[in-house]
Symmetry: C2
Subunit: 147 residues, 2 copies
DNA sequence: GCTACATCCTCTAGTAGCTAGAGGTTCAAG
DNA sequence: CTTGAACCTCTAGCTACTAGAGGATGTAGC
C-alpha cells in the first residue's frame, strides 16, 4: 500500500529513521515488492505514529518498545504503562529544575558583564572561578541532561 | 606536581575525561615523568576548572574551546565571549520552553488515565492519536533537545 | 629488596538516536 | 527508452563521554 517515502510523509518520520527503527526491532520487518522495496500498511502507519508521538514526548526508545509491547495486550491492567509515563514525567521535571538553575546562573553571569576587554570580562571570571556563583549548581547538575 | 588522579580529585573531572579532553585538544599535552605518567601544574588545574564549570553551564565543547582561546588574549574586546554566552542562554531558554510544553502534555495525559486496562488506557490512546493533544507540540519540539 | 596493590598507560568499542554519504538498483513519467 | 526520483545496503559520523582489556608503574609495608 505505502512506500517508505509515502509513510515518511504521512507520519513525519524521516526515511532513514524508519529504516533505523526497523533495524533495531522497533518496527516489524515489512513486506517487499518484487524489486525488494518495502511496502507498508496502515498498521505500520499507526505504530509509527505512536512511536513518533512518544518520541516527541521525550520517551526513550527502550521505553517505547515496552509501551508498544504492553499496548498489544489490551486486557491487561495499565499499571505498567502508567509507571513508565510517570517515570518520564519525573525525568522531565528533574530536567526542568536543572535547566532553570542553569538558566539563572547564565543570566546572572551575562548581566554582570560590562563588555569591556577580555581581562575584565565577567563571563570569563565566573567560568574560571566557581566561587563566584550563587548556587551550588554542580550539585544540582549532573553529567547527563539528555534530551 | 599533580598526578592525573590528584587533578581529577581536585577538579571533580574524572580521569578518563581528562585524558579525553587532552585527546581532542581541549587540554594541552602535559609533561610526563620518567615512567611516562602525566604530570600537571596549577595552570592545567585552572584550565580544567574552567572547562568543568562551562560544561556545568551547558556549553558545548566547541564553544568552550573558543572561550579558552579568547580568554588567552586578555586585551581584546569581550564581545565574542559575550556572544557565545548569549547564544548559550538563548539555547537554554529555547530548551526550557520546549521542556515546559512537554511537561504539560505528559502531565495532562497521566492525569486523565483512570488506570483500568490497557484497552482504555488514556496514555496509550494519547500516544496513538496526536489529535488528542492540546498543543501542537510537534511544532514546538525539535528532534534535538540535547543536553 | 620484595610483595601487594593502587594507580597509571594505551587502545578499542560502546552509549542514544539518529544523520550523511557511497555506490548501486528499481520505479514511474514522458 | 530514457531520465531522474526514489529506493536499496552498508559504513561511518555526530556529542561527550564511559567501560573494559591488557599491561606498566608507583608506593607502602615488611
Amino acid at each position: 500500500m505505502l512506500s517508505i517515502g509515502k509513510l515518511s510523509e504521512l507520519t513525519g518520520v524521516k526515511v532513514p529513521t524508519i529504516r533505523y527503527y526497523e533495524q533495531i526491532g522497533l518496527l516489524p520487518k515489512p513486506e517487499r515488492n518484487e524489486g525488494g522495496q518495502r511496502i507498508y500498511n496502515n498498521t505500520s502507519r499507526e505504530r509509527l505514529n505512536f512511536i513518533r508521538h512518544a518520541r516527541e514526548l521525550g520517551f526513550p526508545l527502550d521505553d517505547i518498545r515496552e509501551l508498544l509491547a504492553l499496548s498489544d495486550d489490551p486486557d491487561q491492567s495499565c499499571d505498567a504503562i502508567d509507571a513508565i509515563a510517570k517515570r518520564q514525567l519525573a525525568e522531565v521535571e528533574h530536567r526542568l529544575v536543572r535547566l532553570k538553575a542553569l538558566h539563572k546562573e547564565l543570566e546572572r553571569m551575562i548581566v554582570q558583564c560590562t563588555c569591556g576587554t577580555v581581562q575584565t570580562c565577567r563571563v570569563i571570571q565566573v567560568l574560571g572561578d566557581h566561587g563566584l556563583c550563587v548556587a551550588d549548581h554542580q550539585k544540582i547538575m549532573s553529567h547527563d541532561m539528555g534530551q
